[in-house]
């Protein structure tokens, strides 16, 4: 198991290196360069040269990649073009908001999706199962930003049930402000988990060891909620890392629609000011989060399923 984790960490490191190569290569390959993007076409040659030097853009490509990675190792992702603040600090400031949003969305998805999947798996083909199945598919299909805009329109603007803007202050108020955005972001994964757990649960309930457990007189509720569920959530846990990182990514929309601070907001605002290092740092950091989340999910699966541990 330790060997496996080390291998995965190694792969993650390689992916991060390739990602930074891609990100820096983009600066060179893509027509249009960060200097004119930031300063506009009318800047003088001297200002441009100074700016390029300050950003390290006058170095050769491998040197830039090396410097960037060296910085990453020291927690340095570069500096804001205009204020000179470190990107790491900027990310640190807004990360709690995005983390709270993504976590709350994940809790929606797990808290409703998993029980819903179990419940429908126990009555396959029933009217309730078919209706809830169609609703789950609809949740998966409808884009998160549309849900965000519509929930803002209906529940905040028209009905005034929830606050429309900002992140709130104080624990209760923060939760109150989280309600709509997290639901809007989590809806898709709620539907997906419901479908995933339903099919896994139905498959597990057909397995021979479940029949054997019935023959041994194990009570039905233990069979369903312990024996079967424990196996049926494994596929769901496998995708949780993916879920968390994709929730962080779709938080961008909720942060913009609900005007909340966060990683997405940070990058979005940086587009307006052509603040390339901030965006690049955010992309790199989110990529890092993705790798951490998927690795954590794989380790969780191994803890849950002794068979997976053995197969390594």
């Amino acid at each position: 198991m330790a060997v496996y984790i080390l291998k995965r960490l190694g792969l993650a490191a390689i992916i991060l290196i390739v990602a930074s190569i891609i990100l820096i290569a983009m600066l060179h390959v893509i027509p249009g360069d960060p200097v004119s993007a930031a300063l506009g076409p009318r800047a003088t040659a001297q200002i441009r040269a100074e700016f390029a030097h300050r950003m390290g853009l006058d170095r050769s490509f491998p040197v830039q990649v090396g410097k960037f990675l060296w910085g990453v190792l020291h927690g340095d992702l570069g500096y804001d073009v205009w204020t000179g603040r470190s990107v790491t600090a900027l990310i640190g400031d807004v990360l709690p908001y995005t983390a709270a949003l993504a976590t709350a969305a994940l809790l929606w998805a797990i808290g409703i999706g998993v029980p819903l999947g179990c419940w429908t798996a126990l009555r396959p083909g029933s009217t309730a199962d078919r209706i809830l199945g169609a609703i789950s598919v609809a949740f998966i299909a409808i884009p998160a930003f549309v849900v965000s805009v519509y929930s803002l329109l209906i529940f905040a603007v028209q009905l005034h049930w929830f606050p429309a803007m900002g992140a709130g202050e104080g624990f209760g108020d923060v939760l109150w402000h989280l309600f709509l955005p997290s639901l809007a972001v989590g809806l898709g994964w709620m539907g997906y988990l419901a479908r995933l757990v339903r099919s896994a649960m139905m498959e597990v309930l057909r397995e021979d060891h479940i029949r054997a457990a019935r023959a041994y007189g194990v009570p039905e509720r233990v069979i369903v909620w312990r024996y079967a569920l424990r196996l049926a959530v494994i596929p769901a846990v496998t995708v949780l890392g993916l879920a968390l990182s994709s929730l962080i990514a779709s938080s961008v929309f909720a942060e913009i629609v609900f005007n909340r601070p966060g990683l997405g907001r940070l990058a979005y605002d940086a587009v307006e000011t052509r603040n390339y290092p901030v965006i690049m740092g955010t992309v790199f950091f989110t990529c890092f989060l993705y790798l951490v989340c998927t690795l954590a999910a794989d380790i969780a699966v191994m803890l849950l399923d002794p068979r997976a541990r053995r197969s390594l």
């Binding site: 021979d208 054997a212 023959a215 007189g217 194990v218 009570p219 024996y227 196996l231 849950l304 002794p306």
Partner: protein
């Protein structure tokens, strides 16, 4: 001697298919060991699962009185009270008899949920049960996951689990089929040994006559969803009467006396019950077929002391 199980006209039909079991009747006395042999598709496993009511959405007809309760008509609560207590089962493949994600201890404790004792007392009971089937260091092994056991050891554990409550009837579905030959012999020896200590009745299905011979007082031969012959094990195996039983036993390598490079087989295929016409299910493959065989199915009638068979050829002789 009162019967612990009395099965009358048991029928099993899977959804969208023809009947797999077409009226099976038999009784098992207290402490008696009965075997069922027959080839794949003869309906023998369906009989067992029907008695345990573990067939899902298959339709089960007839009756099966177990200590006064009709297993066919019993409510789910009544069955839950019986299963794992008075009525237990050992399955063919020990690897799929246990949930892969819990250690044995958890699964033994779940099966003992009815007992009032403390958790520790139940665990001690489970450890003793494991010791009783020959698992070394049961205190340590019980904390292992199923995949840490070999097939034979896991089947021992399954047997321990099934016998822990001293059931009135133990049902075993091909308990040695998934094991290799050496392990099979050990499990047969274990079951023989347990027969001395355990007083309940046993119903074993197998296609291996040696297992039945080693353990059972009486044997029933199934073909095409019905019993074609029954009688005391020793007599039936030594002197089979029904043409099918004779051919089946002739296929056992152990029974072949001359050295041969060709193992005998029964020509033809097991009956497709969906195409079954009137008459005897075996008629198509039978070498002693008479005119009546394909018209009306023969009855299960006495052919000797304590023996019955379902064949016109025998009944006309008797």
């Amino acid at each position: 001697m009162s019967a612990v199980l009395n099965v009358q006209d048991l029928r099993v039909t899977y959804p969208g298919a023809q009947p797999a079991v077409r009226g099976v009747s038999f009784a098992i006395a207290r402490g008696e060991a009965v075997g069922i042999i027959g080839e794949s598709g003869s309906g023998k496993s369906s009989v067992l699962l029907a008695l345990m009511r573990l067939l899902g959405d298959a339709a089960v007809g007839g009756s099966a009185h177990f200590n006064g309760d009709d297993l066919v008509a019993a409510s789910e609560e009544c069955l839950r009270a019986l299963r794992g207590d008075r009525l237990t089962m050992v399955f063919q493949d020990p690897q799929t008899s246990f949930s892969p994600v819990f250690p044995l201890s958890t699964q033994f404790l779940a099966a003992l949920h009815r007992r009032a004792e403390s958790r520790d007392a139940k665990l001690r009971l489970a450890v003793e049960a494991l010791r009783g089937v020959g698992i070394a260091e049961p205190e340590r092994r019980i904390r292992d996951y199923p995949h840490a056991f070999s097939g034979g050891m896991l089947q021992r554990a399954a047997i321990a689990l099934a016998l822990m409550s001293s059931p009135d009837l133990l049902i075993a579905d091909e308990p040695t089929t998934a094991l290799d030959a050496t392990t099979e012999a050990q499990i047969i020896a274990l079951l023989r040994d347990l027969r001395q200590r355990y007083s309940g009745a046993v119903l074993i299905v197998s296609h291996q006559p040696n297992l039945i011979a080693a353990l059972c007082d009486r044997v029933m031969v199934m073909y095409g969803g019905v019993i074609v012959e029954e009688g005391p094990t020793a007599q039936v195996l030594k002197d089979p009467r029904h043409p099918y039983t004779r051919r089946l036993l002739a296929c056992e390598p152990a029974h072949i006396e001359t050295v041969t490079r060709h193992l005998p087989t029964i020509p033809g295929r097991p009956p497709d019950l969906s195409l079954l016409q009137a008459g005897c299910a075996f008629a198509e493959r039978c070498l002693q077929k008479v005119d009546g065989c394909t018209i009306v199915e023969p009855q299960l009638l006495p052919v000797a002391e304590a023996r019955r068979a379902r064949c016109y050829a025998l009944q006309s002789l008797a």
